[in-house]
């Protein structure tokens, strides 16, 4: 539509800075979560390289203080990944307890998270037992 009214519109678009995530604790926690990927890759690479070595070299490698430090940092990073991963899982799993048409109760998030931790504890025990006892 034509009109003679002068427009004063001049929308101001705020700039996006690369450090946008530093001003909210929530975003910092998210960036740490994403950064756990770096040490996950490091651990996978470490496992792959170790798998090519003899047991004596593996033992010697793991005794290196720098390696111990990296492994402890990696464990912390992996635990942070695990906690955030398990806590977010219920949002991706939305299911009713039964298929009954009148059942409106969703499986509670707490139940899903508990099941994940039970599973993780079992996996932890199985791996320890397998590595210590089976060979």
């Amino acid at each position: 539509m034509e009109n003679n009214v002068k427009s004063y519109r001049k929308p101001y678009v705020r700039p996006v800075k690369a450090n946008w995530w530093t001003d909210r604790g929530f975003y910092i926690a998210y960036m740490i979560r994403e950064a756990t990927a770096v040490l996950a890759v490091v651990v996978a690479l470490e496992l792959l390289v170790l798998s090519c070595m003899s047991q004596e070299s593996i033992v010697a490698f793991l005794k290196n203080p720098l390696v111990i430090l990296v492994n402890i940092l990696s464990l912390a990073s992996v635990m942070y990944h695990t906690i955030t991963w398990f806590n977010l899982m219920p949002k991706a799993v939305r299911m009713f307890a039964t298929k009954k048409p009148t059942d409106t109760k969703l499986i509670p998030a707490k139940l899903i998270i508990s099941a994940e931790w039970i599973g993780a504890a079992v996996a932890f025990a199985v791996i320890i037992v397998a590595c210590v006892c089976l060979v």
């Binding site: 690479l45 464990l75 993780a120 996996a123 590595c131 089976l134």
Partner: protein
């Protein structure tokens, strides 16, 4: 606006599987590695890699962690305001693929005794 269907489901699937594998397997493996570092003789990787279950599990753990990690790194670049292109995509997922292939060769040769 593009109309091309995203091929992200493939990478997202591998990322999700890898995230699960890391959460379930790496805490125990890292604990054993750290204990071994302090002199507790518990991380018998050389022997485990020669068993069928050990070689199989290690292949899954290594490759799944790689796909998970490189997927997050790829999207993390974008979060850090680095404009990602198909080149970044091919390089990072390419690395995940190469390491997975390396893992396949290494664990297969361990299991079949092609090398020490």
């Amino acid at each position: 606006m593009s109309t091309r269907r995203s091929d992200e489901p493939i990478y997202w699937g591998l990322f999700g599987f890898g995230g699960m594998v890391i959460a379930f397997a790496l805490p125990a493996i890292l604990t054993l590695m750290i204990l071994q570092g302090f002199g507790v003789d518990c991380f018998k990787l050389a022997a485990i890699a020669k068993t069928w279950w050990g070689a199989g599990a290690l292949f899954v753990i290594v490759s799944a962690s790689m796909w998970h990690g490189f997927h997050r790194i790829y999207h993390g670049l974008h979060d850090l305001c680095i404009h990602t292109t198909r080149v970044h995509h091919y390089v990072l997922y390419g690395l995940a693929a190469i390491f997975s292939l390396a893992a396949l060769v290494i664990y297969a040769s361990k299991f079949f005794g092609w090398c020490a």
